[in-house]
C-alpha cells in the first residue's frame, strides 16, 4: 500500500480514535535538540531528578545549557538555551522547552504526548550561585533552576557494582537517559506516534549518539526505538533496542534488550543490559519487571513504577 494511502488511513483512524495535540509548524523539524557538551550535574528532590548540563564559556560571555527535570511516574521537562553570568548572578535564557507530561491516567487516544515549544521571546531565569566547588554547585533563585547539584560522574562513582542494589541503581540511572530521550520524540506516548508510520527518524543525543524511532502497523502498532552510543548527559551511554507492541489502546508489551554503560570517575564503567521482555503495557502504562544484568552477573528483576531504591540512596545524596 502506498504511503499516501497509509497516511490517509492514519488520518482517518487517528481522527476517529485520537487527538494528536496542537498543530505543528509547517515544515517543522522532528529533532529540535541542540547538542550541549559540558559538565553534568544532578540534584534530587523528593524522588524527582534535575540534571543540569553546563557547557564551558570557551572565551565567550554566553554558553549553552540543558536542564532536564524528571518526575515520577514518567514526566519529563527539558529546557535548552544559553546562560551568562556576572559576579555570582547567572541568567538562564531558555529558548526551547521539551515536555513529556504525566498522562498515565489518560487513555492513549486522549494523550498529547511529547512536544516541543520554541520560547519566543526567551524565558530568562535568574539564579544566584551560593557556592561552587569542583563537586557541588548550589543555586538559589528561580525555581526552574535552583537546587543543590552534584557533579554526576562523581556521584555515579558511588555505585558499587558488587552491592546488592547495584543492578537496580544502574538501571535507574540508565532509565533517566531513556526517559530523557522520550521527551524529545514528538508525539511519544500518544497517538502522535502515527507520524512515524513506515519511516525511521533519527534524533541526536544531547551529548552524543542518536536514537531512531520507527513504527509499523496502524492498528497493531509496533514501535522500535534504537539507541546507538546515545548519551544525553555524562555518566550514561545507551546501546540497544526497545520495542513496544500494542493495540490502539496501548495494551500489549515491551521487548528488546537495551545495553547501558555507567561511567564513573576514576573507575571502570559498569556495563549492563535491561531486557524488557517481562514488561506489560496496559493503556500505555508499564507493569511487570525489567530484567537487569550488570557486569555479567545474575539477572535481577527490577519492578516498574517508583524507583526502588531511590536515586538519592544510589547516589549517596
Amino acid at each position: 500500500m502506498s504511503r499516501l494511502a497509509l497516511g490517509g488511513a492514519a488520518l482517518v483512524g487517528a481522527g476517529l480514535l485520537a487527538c494528536l495535540g496542537p498543530y505543528p509548524n509547517v515544515g517543522e523539524k522532528l529533532d529540535g535538540v541542540d547538542q550541549v557538551n559540558g559538565t553534568s550535574y544532578i540534584a534530587l528532590d523528593g524522588g524527582g531528578a534535575r540534571i543540569l548540563i553546563l557547557a564551558p564559556f570557551d572565551g565567550g560571555r554566553t554558553a549553552p545549557f540543558t536542564r532536564i527535570d524528571e518526575q515520577q511516574p514518567r514526566a519529563v521537562q527539558t529546557l535548552q538555551g544559553t546562560y551568562s553570568g556576572q559576579n555570582l548572578d547567572v541568567d538562564f535564557s531558555s529558548t526551547t522547552l521539551f515536555t513529556l507530561p504525566n498522562e498515565a491516567s489518560t487513555p492513549v487516544s486522549g494523550r498529547s504526548g511529547a512536544s516541543r515549544k520554541q520560547l519566543s521571546p526567551p524565558t530568562v531565569s535568574r539564579v544566584h550561585v551560593d557556592s561552587a566547588t569542583s563537586e557541588v554547585l548550589d543555586l538559589s533563585g528561580s525555581g526552574s533552576f535552583a537546587g543543590r547539584y552534584r557533579r554526576l560522574l562523581g556521584r555515579t562513582a558511588l555505585v558499587d557494582g558488587a552491592a546488592p542494589d547495584a543492578p537496580a541503581c544502574a538501571f535507574h540511572l540508565a532509565n533517566l537517559a531513556v526517559e530523557s530521550s522520550e521527551a524529545r520524540i514528538p508525539g511519544f506516548n500518544s497517538a502522535g506516534m502515527t507520524q512515524y508510520l513506515n519511516r525511521v527518524e533519527p534524533f541526536e543525543g544531547i551529548l552524543s549518539g542518536k536514537v531512531t524511532v520507527g513504527l509499523v502497523g496502524l492498528f497493531s502498532p509496533v514501535s522500535t526505538i534504537t539507541f546507538t552510543d546515545y548519551a544525553d548527559f555524562e555518566g550514561v551511554v545507551l546501546d540497544g533496542v526497545q520495542i513496544s507492541s500494542t493495540d490502539t489502546s496501548g495494551n500489549g508489551g515491551l521487548s528488546g534488550v537495551l545495553g547501558f554503560r555507567i561511567q564513573r570517575d576514576g573507575l571502570p564503567p559498569l556495563e549492563g543490559s535491561v531486557d524488557y521482555g517481562q514488561v506489560s503495557l496496559s493503556n500505555g502504562n508499564e507493569s511487570g519487571n525489567y530484567l537487569v544484568t550488570l557486569d555479567g552477573g545474575a539477572t535481577v528483576p527490577v519492578p516498574t513504577g517508583r524507583r526502588i531504591p531511590p536515586l538519592e540512596q544510589c547516589l549517596g545524596l
Binding site: L4, G7, G15, V26, G27
Partner: protein, 237 residues
C-alpha cells in the same frame, strides 16, 4: 465545557448522511400523477373540448452530476494565533437533486503551497506525499435565471481533512476541521440532450467556516475555506 467526543461527531455525520440519502431518494421519485380534473356535471364530453396539453416539466428537476476542478484555499488560526494558509488544487464531484434537495460536494485536495505567519513554502519542498478531502454536505435550492441559466445555492456541513507526510527529518502536518458552509453554482444548460442527457458548464463557489478539529485537541481557533472553480456535468432526468 465538556468537549464533544470524536464518536459523537462521527455519529452525527453518519446520521446526516443517512437523512440526506433518504431525502435524495424521496426527492428523486417521479411526481405523483396529477389528479384528474373534476368533471363537469354533464358527464358527456363536449365534442369541441380542446385536447389535453401535457404540463411542461420543471426545468429545475432531476439530478446534476458534475466534475469540478477548482482552486481551494484553507486558511486558519490556531489557539496560539499562528496563521496557516494552504493553497491547493481540488478535483471535485458535485451532486444535487431537484429544485430543492440535498447536495454533496466531495473534493480531493492537492496542496501546492503552504504558508505560516508570513513564511511561504512549496508543499513539495517539505512534504513527500499529501492530500486532503473537502466535503460539503447540505440542502440546496435551484432557481432558473433564464431558460438556459440556472442558479443553485444552499448551506451545509463542512469537513476539511488534510494529511501531509513530512520528508525525512520533518514532521507530518495533518488536520481534520469541521464547520458550516455554503455553496453557489451558476450553470449554463444549453438544452442539448443527446440520449436525454443534458450537458452543463458553469462556475462554483463555496465558503465554509470551521470551528472544531478533533484531531488536534481543538487547537483550531477558526478556519475559513474558500473553493472557486468550474463545473462540467450532466443532468440526468
Amino acid at each position: 465545557m465538556r468537549r464533544p467526543q470524536p464518536w459523537a461527531v462521527v455519529a452525527s455525520w453518519s446520521a446526516l448522511w443517512g437523512a440526506l440519502l433518504f431525502a435524495a431518494g424521496a426527492a428523486a421519485q417521479p411526481a405523483e400523477p396529477a389528479a384528474p380534473a373534476p368533471r363537469s356535471e354533464a358527464a358527456a364530453p363536449a365534442p369541441e373540448a380542446a385536447p389535453t396539453v401535457p404540463e411542461a416539466a420543471d426545468p429545475r428537476a432531476g439530478w446534476r452530476h458534475e466534475f469540478s476542478p477548482a482552486w481551494h484555499m484553507a486558511t486558519f488560526w490556531n489557539k496560539e494565533n499562528s496563521h496557516y494558509t494552504f493553497h491547493s488544487l481540488s478535483i471535485g464531484y458535485l451532486m444535487s437533486v431537484n429544485a430543492a434537495g440535498p447536495f454533496v460536494h466531495l473534493s480531493w485536495v492537492i496542496p501546492l503551497q503552504a504558508r505560516q505567519d508570513g513564511s511561504v513554502h512549496s508543499v513539495s519542498s517539505l512534504y513527500q506525499n499529501g492530500g486532503g478531502i473537502d466535503l460539503l454536505l447540505g440542502w440546496q435550492w435551484r432557481k432558473t435565471v433564464t431558460q438556459e441559466l440556472e442558479f443553485e445555492g444552499g448551506p451545509g456541513l463542512h469537513m476539511n481533512a488534510l494529511n501531509l507526510g513530512g520528508k525525512p527529518g520533518l514532521t507530518n502536518f495533518n488536520a481534520l476541521q469541521l464547520g458550516l458552509g455554503g455553496m453557489t453554482i451558476l450553470r449554463f444548460r444549453p438544452g442539448w440532450t443527446p440520449h436525454k442527457v443534458g450537458w452543463t458548464v458553469g462556475a462554483v463557489g463555496a465558503l465554509a467556516f470551521d470551528l472544531y478539529d478533533p484531531l488536534r485537541s481543538n487547537d483550531l481557533r477558526i478556519g475559513i475555506v474558500l473553493r472557486i472553480g468550474v463545473v462540467l456535468g450532466v443532468d440526468l432526468p
